[in-house]
Symmetry: D2
Subunit: 362 residues, 4 copies
Amino acid sequence: MGNTFGHLFRVTTFGESHGGGVGVVIDGCPPRLEISTEEIQVELDRRRPGQSKITTPRKEADSCEILSGVFEGKTLGTPIGILVRNKDTRSQDYDEMSVKYRPSHADATYDAKYGIRNWQGGGRSSARETIGRVAAGAIAKKILRQVANVEVIGYVKRIKDLEAAIDPNTVTLEQVESNIVRCPDAECAERMIELIEQTGRQGDSIGGVVECVARNVPKGLGDPVFDKLEAELAKGVMSLPASKGFEIGSGFAGTLLTGFEHNDEFYIDESGEIRTTTNHSGGIQGGISNGENIILRVAFKPTATIRKEQKTVTNEGEETVLAGKGRHDPCVLPRAVPMVEAMVAIVLCDRLLQHYGQCKVL
Amino acid sequence: MGNTFGHLFRVTTFGESHGGGVGVVIDGCPPRLEISTEEIQVELDRRRPGQSKITTPRKEADSCEILSGVFEGKTLGTPIGILVRNKDTRSQDYDEMSVKYRPSHADATYDAKYGIRNWQGGGRSSARETIGRVAAGAIAKKILRQVANVEVIGYVKRIKDLEAAIDPNTVTLEQVESNIVRCPDAECAERMIELIEQTGRQGDSIGGVVECVARNVPKGLGDPVFDKLEAELAKGVMSLPASKGFEIGSGFAGTLLTGFEHNDEFYIDESGEIRTTTNHSGGIQGGISNGENIILRVAFKPTATIRKEQKTVTNEGEETVLAGKGRHDPCVLPRAVPMVEAMVAIVLCDRLLQHYGQCKVL
Amino acid sequence: MGNTFGHLFRVTTFGESHGGGVGVVIDGCPPRLEISTEEIQVELDRRRPGQSKITTPRKEADSCEILSGVFEGKTLGTPIGILVRNKDTRSQDYDEMSVKYRPSHADATYDAKYGIRNWQGGGRSSARETIGRVAAGAIAKKILRQVANVEVIGYVKRIKDLEAAIDPNTVTLEQVESNIVRCPDAECAERMIELIEQTGRQGDSIGGVVECVARNVPKGLGDPVFDKLEAELAKGVMSLPASKGFEIGSGFAGTLLTGFEHNDEFYIDESGEIRTTTNHSGGIQGGISNGENIILRVAFKPTATIRKEQKTVTNEGEETVLAGKGRHDPCVLPRAVPMVEAMVAIVLCDRLLQHYGQCKVL
Amino acid sequence: MGNTFGHLFRVTTFGESHGGGVGVVIDGCPPRLEISTEEIQVELDRRRPGQSKITTPRKEADSCEILSGVFEGKTLGTPIGILVRNKDTRSQDYDEMSVKYRPSHADATYDAKYGIRNWQGGGRSSARETIGRVAAGAIAKKILRQVANVEVIGYVKRIKDLEAAIDPNTVTLEQVESNIVRCPDAECAERMIELIEQTGRQGDSIGGVVECVARNVPKGLGDPVFDKLEAELAKGVMSLPASKGFEIGSGFAGTLLTGFEHNDEFYIDESGEIRTTTNHSGGIQGGISNGENIILRVAFKPTATIRKEQKTVTNEGEETVLAGKGRHDPCVLPRAVPMVEAMVAIVLCDRLLQHYGQCKVL
């Protein structure tokens, strides 16, 4: 269970890192949206391993095929099936993994839950699973852009203790993509790249924080109680591999302010629109978007697979040691950026459709 | 929409702060569970306003009535309906609210979304809505206790910058309930109480962090992808009013460690069980519980309603000022503790049932 | 589980025939719909026992109270909670039922499933459960009427072998309500009433067929695959107590025609609209409404509770006999009419909202 | 929307008749079930066109590939993706269809709903969509067999007015498969085959009734209210293409009996089990299985595509005529048998898992 996300714009992913392939079925997509394989591939390429010197050198083309739901370049309103084939990459790298549990991976918990596990790779916990999310996110982004010119832009805000200075209200995709670490603060980006490379050379890994902004989100998206917009966003990004924390607007830092300092005062802007002077709320009040920029942050832990040797156990219950082999990212953050964007776009698109379904009928 | 939570243990709440009452329907509860109104009332009393000098002096009895689903003290397996009547409390306090939007409240976004709003109170964004959650949580806790002796214990970890020293592995409910701020660090609790009282006297408010631990959670709960256990927990607590952030295990601080430092090494304990020496994972790996204590934190912003005057606008689009009247909590944290526990218990119970439904069949 | 129906217009019922009461929570209702307790009560009165000499003489007022979701006569967009209190009617009638299983009732299967049962009445299998459905149906009907002037009209088509001649394309609610059996064929209605009374005097019961038409349904409602409009309608009405069969359009009789006879040829009407000359499809093609009248039929078995003695067993596994006591309908059909209408209206309303949520966005 | 079926055993299909392929994602399957491509292929071959002289001569291999969720011959508990490629069969047959609406097909309603349509074939309304259902059904059947030796057997009960005499309590799969019309009454089967062939030669088509029995179903499956077992079954089979009616147990004929005749009296069998002497209930009472054989019937209309010319209109709103070209089944019934079985098995499997998830926990 748990492989479907969304209520009206409904995304179902399938596929292990090893086996026939990974893919996604997107149900509920509005009809007549122009979409091409190329547009989806652009986002997949941002997620792809082997894209730069600071990501895993594993080369995977990750070429997607649209199996259904699109006809003559337009969505049909029927489910869009997308498939990315796995290469037959089973190597010796994983032989040890059939018996030894990798620390802070899902090997042991899969075995505990299912009593079986595809030990040839990470199975469903592999980052490859996110291919389907990113493909769905590409479509969600296009819908959002078309309906309300919504922009969803993520970037690396912090790597370990290197924190960038970025204005979420003005940052552009071009700035994000201008360097391989996806940090629009050019000076900080260089230091981040250096730190990642150095950490990789040491056989270790590091983590950090991705920040994401959604601009031009219409007022009124989200629902008051369990499906509050921030709750759906939290679930979306906390379902990404390696995520450990979520903040909306002021987040944890907001708890250091008083109510007087934290409250976002209202004013009327030149166009007669109700606005807030500050945005500690992060664009959401009472679970519903208020028209200000939605700003959130996600903490990603350091990559679990490292070349340094660590203590572990076997599936037979014996203590042993394990050192990660193969080619892994010393830092997932640059590749996590499109994943965060995808989940944010999927949530916003789903809520947009739901809003039409309840509030645009009468 | 959005008033139902959970897949198999399914909780639907209804009711505004003003009107006939608030309540909950719990569907999918296992049959033959012994449950009484009194057991539910115990939890509701922990959530109730007016319980101490640091909560709002508003007195609400919040007496619950079980309408259905329980017969001769046992659950029937059919939906449990629980109702708490509202007192007819409509006072002059809210008259201004019919036209002025309270800063950082849901008034403006409700109007933007629905084009209508029950201005007599907070409507669905009122903390009163959580009565249904806490009632459902009381039942979820009992199921968890009965099946696996699971304990779910929340407490105030931090108020503004006053951080308590608490060991989640040993903390007891008795320690939590030993003071009115629900902080088991007695010395820190006193300072917290003082700060809350002082802030209240100034007409201002403060926030903080609730930490929650779930102990004895069986291995194997949760699902690999979108319904990862931490993702469901994040959604659950981020759907509580005033929450701004969520962390599981090491959280944001975990991003400052290297993989070598952060990974939880495995060992075999004296009973032959696979355990981890550290618990940066917070009891969840790959979205599935690993048998270690589940530890999470939730950031709550300072209460939005304050007596200090602030700038705002009217629903007619005119700028004005507003100072909160009525009786409000200067700090929601003590009352948020049972709410967090309730959502954690509901998530765990739902995942427990789902685990039986998939993995205990063959 | 299973106490929630619908995806966007989502209806959750609760309550046993004995206990605090029965009720419903309606989530996802469009905001700003004018609705009053009186409008809902009108439909509840059509469902109510004791309404005529051919229904059970049990008098139940079934007065409903709106607990939430409506403010100053208009829906808020938040969940509408409605409660109907049970009278404390526990009589000696049910004492035998605590040990003896009533034939063709749910007593034995509830015990088999849950290991517990509220033997004071029918529990969730009581027709009282349908109060919540009828209340929700009243709201659904109003939305449908307001959006597209949709009319949903049910009537008794057949009692045992007495079949009425009724034109679904022209029948009116007034005609349906013009007699106590709700059969708009006046002459046939009289014979039906006579047969029901005679059957009741014999301590026996009879069944029949309810037909229901929905007129002015917009083209495009419903979804191609699992949620085909006829599939949702089938589920809706087959979830009513005592239903044994469902037909859409030509139904079982349609299987006696050839394709050439059965196909509905298209033509262009005077207003330029695409129409069909016949309506064997019953207003639905490929799971989607085509603008013709939706026509369906539901078979209801003879009431299971009869005064004639029958063989049964006890919950201890001993064979015995049982004769129904108390006051029961010798024929459920007249009261089933508003139930069928309610389920049809709920399905159509849900699909209407879903259609806006997918197809009115771009 | 509407491309997912089931709550715990959750089936999502995708794919049009023309395009990359059709497939299915099965989420929530219990882990460690042995399953092979060959077992699934057996069921697909029963559904396949071109399998005999009375089905369409269109040859489609319909070879399935398992993309994920199965490892070394066993299910992983993760989603099972199955793909069947489409052959590139776009022929001249469909050219006319790009402008002319086929009577009693989905062409016109798809255009009305989505404003776009894959006119190269039936799109999602093509019988090809049922490939995914049949594949999922093969897995559901295996789970049911393994857990409780449940058998699900469908067969042709009636073709037009040729009704077979078959005892659902003893019929075997071998008998069903012993002739190409899948009617275990050998003598009647011959007459059916003759009628189908004759009808096909005339360029016309016929329909009929499929009956399906599920034996050894454990007591207790299904839920009291909206998800009554018969309601879920009704939805499942009424979502199949060309279905027009559904009956459980006595069905419409049951309405001709009195309650005294219709009620299923209880007795204790030699093994001490509670049984019923008759089975008008069709194995379900109060929405829950009672351990008797579940028996249902589904009406299928005559195939809409016929070679005889009929009146229709174009998508430009002009009246015209159309005669079906290409190769179509003069009667869908033989191929509908595995489809009905699949939906019944999926419903039963889903309810089985749900039963464990609620009632086997405490």
